[in-house]
């Protein structure tokens, strides 16, 4: 299992559309992928393949999340999720 911590930089956090994109990335990966807000108690993690669980986390801009995955391409799926979470919205200038 491999993991990384990512700061969410999308303007409005992990709302419906980026969540759907995240779930698509996770679902293409054959093995489990998880996401949790850094600092939340154990058990508050979400199955990254479930949009309803990801939305219920209510991740806001600037918050840090931990993502972790199993399986042979765990690094690849985490890199793709990292790019989605830490990048600005499409067409959006990131103001920092």
């Amino acid at each position: 299992m491999t993991h990384r911590v990512v700061q969410v930089r999308r303007r409005e956090g992990l709302h419906a559309r980026p969540a759907a994109a995240l779930v698509r990335i996770a679902a293409e990966h054959g093995s489990p992928v998880w996401i949790a807000r850094v600092g939340d108690p154990p058990g508050a993690d979400a199955d990254a393949r479930s949009i309803t669980e990801v939305l219920a986390l209510g991740i806001r801009r600037g918050e840090r999340v931990r993502i972790w995955a199993e399986g042979p391409d765990a690094d690849g799926v985490l890199a793709a999720m990292d790019a989605l979470l830490s990048g600005p919205e499409p067409g959006e200038e990131d103001g920092g």
Binding site: A16, A20, G43, I51, T52, G58
Partner: protein
């Protein structure tokens, strides 16, 4: 002809008028039965079908260059086949629910969780899953969305976002909804498609019912229910269909109006919905439970959780404390009944006026200032340790994070003692479970005065206004002659509440209020204005407080609270609050 004008929130600009087509959630059918399209489908196939249909609607919008709106429907397509959602549906079917019930209940549970999430943008998406659920049910039952058959103003409590794209262009003249917010997907889609829309039209459904009862509709629509929507100014007028050439008088400027709470499909008005101010600031409304049996009333009142379960009821009137097994069963019942909604269990607040024979100790002249609440644990660790072990096991069995709270915290040492007790109990009873979230009651003035340090030691604060008032004003709650000193709206009490709120905000932890004040309209307004984030009250008060908050803007409440802090006495504060309520309710 009478025309009733209802103030609303402008959601999509433009003006439109036409006959009303009333949208009712399909779980509460009214009017024509939905037409049968195809043979019924199993749940998974229906979910796939709904997902495909939503993806196609999204692709259509994307092809038309409306990428943002396409994204909404594409996210719904992902929700339709969500493994967590479908798993919850399966569990409910296995427990004996019908497939349609299972789909709707699972969606409601998820919607409640999403609505409670920390990201307001996400919370506004809660109704999307309910929309998806109705679509799956329709696919399963082989019915289609029953939309208008002639150009109409579509009105109702709420409207699924996908309906906006599904109703053929030309038949959807305008939208008027009692619920929702301008950031709801239905509003975003209406703006994208250029359909005038208003949301948050409090009293609209009642007005529609009155109009519907009063008119005998002609075949051309004349005499039938009629509406005019102004999605720029923010109002909707309903009446009977005027003769050609006449229109209802134009509306007046909108002013601030109400965003009532969102109701689930088929729910009775007032019985469900989320607490929020008129401009959409969420204030979760929680229930106080005195007994485990009260949980039914809490759910019926639409409580978004339990903010205070007074567990001492299990201990009173007995010769010995209940066994851990008996306690665990009682706690588990409440936790299971509330499901994903949070439940705060306050450890038994014994002593004081709650006399039980077993905590031993010398009789006290002034028990309100005696060995009660967390203070008991200094001499009798076993009582609260056993209770905490029972709570730990109950939470583990119910699969939820335990939230426990200590009463009568006066010093930082009290908070540390409580944490030690919890650690000890969890180590024994539920070592594998996540650690509990610990809360401190702020009901002793010393706790409010040292709230900054206290807030760094616990996970949340809950202001107990009843005791905070009696201790701040040194006025025994039981002495009627001191009634004037027992009003929790006393500005001195409110200043202590403010200190607790500021400390919680600085520490980044939630702060709520429980006690009689939170369940009074005046008190709820002042508390929310002070920055209290959740209100916990008797279940019977929830509906009234929900309606009060829905009619008030967050800025108005903040101004009210500022004035209350400077007011000379409680009576002046009540006057200010009552005045603001009068202004809110007399708005058109």
């Amino acid at each position: 002809m009478t025309v009733r004008r209802v103030a609303a929130i402008a959601a999509a600009p433009g003006r439109a008028a036409g006959p009303i087509w009333l949208h009712v959630p399909s779980s509460a059918p009214a009017g024509a039965p939905p037409s049968v399209l195809a043979s019924p489908l199993p749940i998974r196939d229906a979910a796939d079908e709904a997902g495909h249909a939503l993806a196609e609607l999204g692709a259509g919008l994307r092809a038309a260059g409306r990428e943002d709106e396409a994204g909404i429907l594409e996210a719904q397509a992902v929700m339709a086949v969500d493994p967590s959602f479908l798993g919850a549906v399966d569990r409910r079917v296995a427990a004996g629910a019908s497939p349609a019930e299972a789909i709707r209940e699972a969606a409601s549970g998820i919607a409640a969780r999403i609505a409670a999430s920390a990201n307001p943008r996400t919370a506004a998406r809660a109704s999307d899953i309910l929309d998806v659920a109705e679509r799956i049910v329709r696919a399963m039952e082989g019915t289609v969305f029953a939309g208008p058959t002639r150009p109409s103003i579509v009105a109702g409590r709420d409207l699924p976002p996908s309906a906006v794209v599904e109703i053929p262009a030309g038949l959807l003249l305008g939208i008027a909804l009692e619920e929702g917010s301008p950031t709801a997907h239905v509003a975003i889609l209406a703006r994208a498609l250029g359909i005038p829309a208003v949301v948050g039209a409090a009293g609209l459904v009642e007005a529609l019912t009155d109009v519907g009862d009063a008119c005998a509709q002609g075949s051309d629509g004349t005499g039938g229910p009629f509406a005019e929507v102004d999605g720029s100014a923010g109002w909707v007028a309903v009446g009977t269909m005027p003769p050609p050439g006449r229109r209802p008088a134009p509306g007046e400027p909108a002013g601030r109006s109400r965003v009532p709470a969102r109701a689930g499909p088929g729910a009775a008005p007032g019985s469900v919905g989320l607490g929020a101010t008129a401009d959409g600031r969420r204030v979760p409304l929680l229930a106080n439970l005195a007994r485990p049996d009260d949980v039914g009333a809490a759910i019926a009142a639409g409580a978004e959780g339990v903010g205070l379960f007074r567990t001492e009821s299990l201990f009173l009137g007995r010769a010995a404390p209940p066994t851990e097994d008996v306690q665990q069963a009682a706690y588990e019942r409440v936790l299971s009944a509330m499901g994903e909604r949070p439940v705060v269990l306050r450890i038994a607040d014994l002593g004081g006026d709650r006399l039980v024979p077993y905590p031993s100790g010398a009789p006290e002249v002034n028990p309100g200032l005696g060995v009660r609440g967390i203070r008991l644990a200094r001499s009798d660790r076993w009582l609260h340790l056993a209770q905490l072990r029972a709570i730990a096991r109950a939470a583990a069995a119910a699969g939820v994070t335990a939230r426990v709270m200590a009463p009568m915290v006066a010093t930082l040492d009290d908070a540390d003692l409580f944490r030690d007790l919890c650690e000890e109990a969890w180590k024994v009873a539920a070592p594998a479970a996540g650690r509990p979230l610990l809360g401190a009651m702020v009901e002793v003035p010393a706790a409010a005065l040292s709230a900054d340090a206290l807030a760094r030691r616990v996970d949340y604060l809950s202001v107990g206004t009843n005791d905070l008032t009696q201790y701040t004003l040194a006025a025994d709650r039981g002495i009627a002659a001191l009634a004037a000193l027992q009003d929790a709206l006393n500005p001195a009490v409110l200043r202590l509440v403010r200190m607790a709120v500021e400390a919680a905000v600085a520490a980044g932890i939630p702060v709520g209020a429980c006690g009689v004040l939170a369940g009074e309209p005046d008190g709820a307004m002042v508390l929310v204005g002070l920055g209290v984030e959740t209100l916990s009250m008797e279940p019977a008060s929830i509906g009234r407080v929900r309606a009060t908050l829905a009619a008030a803007g967050a800025d108005d409440l903040r101004s009210l609270a500022e004035a209350a802090l400077r007011a000379p006495d409680a009576a002046t504060v009540r006057g200010l609050a009552t005045e603001l309520r009068g202004v809110s309710s007399s708005r058109p």
